[in-house]
Every structure is written in C-alpha cells, then in structure tokens.
C-alpha cells in the first residue's frame, strides 16, 4: 500500500499550481473568470477548434509504425489499416532521420532497427504501395532530413497520380526540439531554421493542404519539462518558425493554418485537460493579436495528443495498457484532432502486431462504447477544470516571457541552455521517483519481484540491412548517373545561394538521388551541428 499523507497536506501539480480540496465559482472568478472560454468552434477556441468536434468525425487514429525495409513497413501499414486505423505515422530508422545512407559506416548496426530504412524514392514507392493517400493521411516522423523526405513524399504522390495541390499529410519537421530532446539534428541551428522556412514557404505555394511542420512539445516533456513548460516551449518554437517564414514576405494567413502540434499525455488527468484547453486559447490569442491572423484556421491549435512513453514503466508492463486507456481518455476529453498511444511494450521493443492492435482497440472502445464522441468539451464548466485552465494559461505565459527575456528560444537552444534547463528538471524528477516522493506504480510503490521480458520481442534481422544495401546498390547502377550529379550540383548551388532548396530537392529525389547523397551536399554548404555540452 502506498503511504497516503494527511488530508491537509499541500498538493502541487507538476506545473507548480497548488490544488485545493474543492473548487467553486469564486475560484474561477479569482483565476480570471470565464472570459477566455467562449463557445466550441469560436475564438478563442478553448473548448475546441470545431463546433461539432467528434460528432462530425472522430479523432484520427495514427499509431507510430515502421521497421526493417519498406516492404515490411508496407505490410504493417496494411495490417493497421485493416484494423481500423485512419492515419499513418511513419517511423524511420536513425540513419534515414540523420541523413546517412544504409551503406554508410555510420549506419552500421542501425539500418531498419527503430524504423523503416529509406535511401531513395524507390523505398517510398514500396512503402505506400496500395495505400489510398486521399483516404489515409500520412505523417512523416522525420526532422533533420525532413526537407528531403517531404520532397520524396510529394514526388511519390505525384507519380501515383495525386494532385499535390490537394494532397494532405504532415511532416514532423520540428528541428528546434531535436536539439532539446530526441537528437536527430544534422546541420547547425541557423541553417536548420532556414530549411524549416523553406518547407513552409514551398508548401504554402505548391502543396497548401500539406502540413509541413508539427511542432512538438511532446519530446520536450519527455526530456524533463513540466506540462505548462511543454506548451510554452512549443509555442516559442512555433513562433520562431512563423517569424522565419514571415521574413520571406508571406502573410501569416498563407501558412499558419497548416502549422500543427504534437503534445504529450501523462500525469494528472485534470492538469492535462486544463493544459490543452488553456493552450488552445493562448495560441489563438497569439496568432490573432501578435501576428494579426484573420483566418480562424490560422488560430487553431490543431494537434496530435499522444499517450507518452514517459509515463509508461518497464515494471509490470501490462499496467501500461491501463495507463494507455487513461491517456486516450484524456486525449478525447481534451479535444484532440489525432490520437496515438505508445504501446505497452515500448520500454522493451518495437510494438508487435498484438500490442499495436491493443492500442488501436483502446481508442476504438472510447469511440464506440464510452460516449466520448457525443458532446464537445464535456469537462467545460467544471469549477476545478476552468480554474486550472486559467492557472495553466498564466504559467504558460510566464514561461514564454521568461524564455524571451533570456534571449529567445533559438538562442537558448544554440547555446545549449534550453537543453540544460530541461535535463536539470529530469534529474530532479528522477530523484523524486527514487525517493518515493513522486509515486509511480510498480516502480516505487506496489512493487513486485519480477522476471524481465515477459513481452514478445520484435526481431531484428541483420540480413535485412544487407538486403537494403544491395537494393541501394542496384538503384545506383540503374539510375541515370549524369542526371543525379546535375541534380545534386543544383542542390548545393541553391543552398549556397541562399535560395529555397525545395525545388532542387524535388528534382534530386526524382532522379533517385539518395538521402545520404543529398545530405552530404547540404553539409558541404551548411556544416554539421556541434553539440554544446552544458550542465
């Protein structure tokens, strides 16, 4: 039995807000009243970006998947779709994410391990074969090499006969958070920002339905940020991308409607719901008042809310199925557009078909059996949730102001200071968990003596990597080498000239130039990032 402290103890949530035993109308008034709430589908969208929300269409179910080669991944995609999944979220292996080809010495032991290996356009052709890209929207979880993979996706779709001007889909393409957590950076901070601007500008002009960036509070939370900071960091980063794009002469309404967000869910249920409601209102206000957006779509905080790995435990892994169900509930109560869940075995392995299906069924249960799609913002009007929503917004505003006071997010990231601040908090949390001050079931309370590895491991086959390299060799032999070289020369020249590199990337991937070959040319111009180590 976990030791419960006296009822009079002081309770403070992770974001630093003191929680009372009970709430009433006076608490809402004292925290700022009901003025920030509005109606569902109306500014400031605190209650949801659409008036009808899930009545019209339930959230998109988009489990993260990908491993081995493109053919293996295509099979898993089809399995998920056959089980009712409504979107894809593609996992790439680390060499692909960092711009190394499968035959690079840096890729040794890593090809196809944590996601699908992609070297050339051929891999995309195979991975999405037989998948209707109008019915199933595809999210590419890639950042360092995102510009190249976005180009590849657009070319693949165009070759399949889709009109790129109408094509929907998302790329993660949030490089600033990669410097804070997750770590798949390639170029230094400044050219990395430039590349994000290139993708937003290009998509606004040529693929206006495509979402070129999904700004991630998710990984910053995983790296140690509290829930209010998660949103504050993400908004500072999103503003940095908007500023980069505005420099090119676009109007905010030409691109802000395609910016989206990726957030994390673990921890206190009410803190999470309040976090999302507060953030929706805050983002709308920032877009309208600071950026002069007029199109309501520009003010929408569209998001994927994902049941986060940071909340799951390696101990008693079946408990993670239950945690996942609560996370999905939070996500639905928070009005997310898209939902994903880490599977219960992710502390051990890439999800098996079995565990991926449990995650999917968890979301389907909420839609079909639990009444979560019937009413918009069901917790709206709760004195507790409204008070907390006001207080979470204040915390986010405070944190954003603090980041700006210290020089802004781009500068803090470039100096390694954002990374250090977040990791210092992760260390404090680790100490709280180790001391039992922060309860974690199965970890510091209700522990059991247990054998490891009750889960089924996803196999990793080193022969798959050899096959991937052989396939790359074959493509190099059959493609038109002169066209490839000319296209790569243009990538380098455009990068050097400071032009938008997207048109050159599109032409390069079309010749079957590889991710590594293109990245090398960009590195020639931009250099590689050197990680500041600050503690």
């Amino acid at each position: 039995m976990s030791e419960r402290k006296a009822a009079s103890r002081r309770v403070v949530n992770e974001s630093g807000i003191e929680i009372k035993t009970a709430y009433g109308a006076a608490d809402v008034e004292a925290s700022g009243g009901f003025s920030h709430i509005g109606e569902p589908g109306q500014y400031p969208f605190t209650r949801g970006i659409h008036a009808e929300m899930y009545r019209k269409r339930p959230w998109t179910m988009r489990q993260y998947a990908g491993f081995g080669n493109a053919a293996d991944t295509n099979q898993r995609f089809k399995f998920l779709i056959a089980n009712g999944q409504t979107g894809l979220n593609v996992a790439f292996d680390l060499p692909t994410q960092i711009g190394f080809d499968s035959d690079s010495p840096m890729a040794e032991g890593e090809v196809g391990r944590v996601g699908m290996a992609v070297d050339t356009l051929r891999d995309f052709e195979v991975a999405f074969d037989g998948i209707d890209l109008e019915q199933i929207t595809v999210s590419l979880t890639v950042n360092g090499s995102a510009a190249i993979l976005i180009a590849m996706y657009l070319v693949m779709a165009e070759k399949r006969g889709y009109d790129v001007a109408k094509l929907r889909g998302t790329a993660q393409n949030d490089i600033l958070k990669e410097f804070i957590g997750r770590g798949t950076w390639i170029f230094p901070v400044e050219p990395s920002m430039k590349l994000v601007g290139d993708t937003i500008e290009y998509c606004a002009q040529h693929a206006p339905k495509y979402s070129p960036v999904s700004v991630c509070g998710y990984h910053i939370r995983e790296s140690g940020a509290n829930p209010a900071q998660e949103m504050a960091y993400a908004f500072c980063i999103a503003k940095a991308y908007a500023d980069e794009t505005l420099k090119r002469g676009l109007h905010i309404d030409e691109f802000a409607g395609r910016l989206s967000f990726n957030f994390n869910i673990f921890g206190n249920i009410f803190e999470q719901v309040a976090k999302f409601r507060a953030a929706r209102g805050l983002w709308a206000k920032i877009m309208k008042e600071e950026y002069g957006a007029q199109d309501p779509g520009s003010m929408w905080m569209r998001m994927i809310a994902a049941g986060g790995g940071g909340g799951l435990t390696k101990e008693q892994p079946e408990n993670n199925i239950v945690r996942g169900a609560y996370y999905a509930l939070i996500s639905a109560l928070s009005g997310t557009q898209t939902m994903a869940l880490c599977s219960y075995d992710e502390a051990y392995t890439i999800p098996t078909e079995h565990s991926a299906r449990i995650s999917l069924r968890t979301m389907q249960l909420l839609i079909e059996e639990m009444g979560l799609t019937e009413t918009v913002d069901p917790l709206g009007g709760s004195w507790y949730v409204e008070t907390l929503t006001n207080q979470m917004r204040d915390k986010m505003v405070e944190t954003m102001a603090d980041i700006d006071r210290r020089g802004g997010i781009v500068s803090l990231v470039a100096q390694g200071l954002a990374q250090a601040a977040v990791s210092a908090q992760a260390y404090q949390m680790q100490k709280r968990i180790e001391s039992g001050d922060f309860p974690k079931v199965g970890v510091n309370c209700y522990r059991e003596e247990e054998e490891e590895a009750k889960v089924e491991f996803h196999p990793y086959d080193e022969d798959d990597a050899k096959a991937q390299v052989a396939a790359l060799d074959a493509i190099r032999a059959e493609r038109d080498g002169r066209k490839v070289q000319a296209a790569l020369d243009r990538v380098e020249a455009d990068a050097r000239a400071g032009a938008n590199v997207m048109p050159a990337l599109i032409e390069a991937v079309r010749t079957y130039a590889s991710v590594g070959e293109i990245t090398d040319r960009l590195v020639t111009v931009y250099g590689r990032y050197r990680e500041p180590v600050v503690f």
Binding site: L94, P95, Q97, I98, F100, M106, A107, E108, G109, E110, R113, V114, E178, G181, R182, G183, T184, E222, S223, G224, T313, K314, E315, A347, Y348, T349, S423, A424, A426, Y427, Q430, K431, E434, V443, E452, A453, F457, Y460, E531, V533, F535
Partner: protein, 131 residues
C-alpha cells in the same frame, strides 16, 4: 590529503538521440563526487576508445536506448584492449534486454543498468569496482 577523484567517461554510442537518461546519470555521478566527461551524441567506437585514453578515465559508461548496443560493444572491446584500456571498468545502461546481458558481460561490460535502475546502484558499482 584528498585522493584523486574517480574519472568517468559517459558516451552515447551510435545514432540514438535519447539522452535524457544519460544526462540524468551524468548529474547523479557529479553529485556523487566523480569527475564526469560526457561526450554528447553520435559517438563511434573509435571515438569512445580515443576519448577514454585521452581523458585518462577509470570508468567507461555507455547509454543506449535504440538497440544497437551489441554491435557497438563488439567493436569497442578490441579498440579498448589495443589502447591498453582493457582493465577499465565498463558500464552500460539503457534499453538493454536481459537476453543480451551474458554477451555484454563477456565483452567486459560488467555493470549493466537497464532502464529504471537507480542512480545509487550505479554509484555503488563504480565505488566498488573503480578503486
């Protein structure tokens, strides 16, 4: 007179970018009084071996979350031996399945600290083995 502090190299092998755990361990080891040299991400086996030699460390620690620890350690072991570092205490932590522990021990990684290990356990292991 105070004795020389134990020096620990902590490295992130391969392309894995998940460094939250490694950075927690760095802070924990510093608080425990060790000198810690953290390499940052993307270390190759040769870079780790060279850093261990140049920094004159007593302990070499790796943090791996993305599954490529065995091929990495197989390459690192002879590089350490060639540099006369065969007797250094080697630790590895992160997502390290139990099925890999025997081979890691055979490669000299006697301290294995899978996800959810406590900082104190790592500190105690170093104190016990690196004197």
């Amino acid at each position: 007179m105070s004795e020389r502090r134990i020096r620990v190299l902590l490295a992130k092998p391969g392309l894995d970018g998940h460094d939250q755990g490694a950075k927690i361990v760095v802070r924990g080891l510093i608080d425990a009084g060790f000198e810690v040299i953290y390499t940052g991400l993307r270390q190759t086996p040769i870079a780790v071996a060279n850093a261990a030699l140049e920094e004159g460390v007593d302990v070499i620690g790796l943090s791996s979350m993305a599954g490529s620890h065995l091929p990495f350690c197989r390459k690192l072991r002879p590089l350490l031996d060639e540099r006369g570092l065969g007797d250094k205490v080697c630790l590895i932590g992160g997502n390290i399945p139990a099925t890999d522990h025997a081979e890691l021990r055979a490669l000299g990684f006697t301290g294995i600290f899978p996800t959810s290990s406590k900082i104190a356990a790592i500190v105690d292991f170093i104190k016990e083995h690196a004197q």
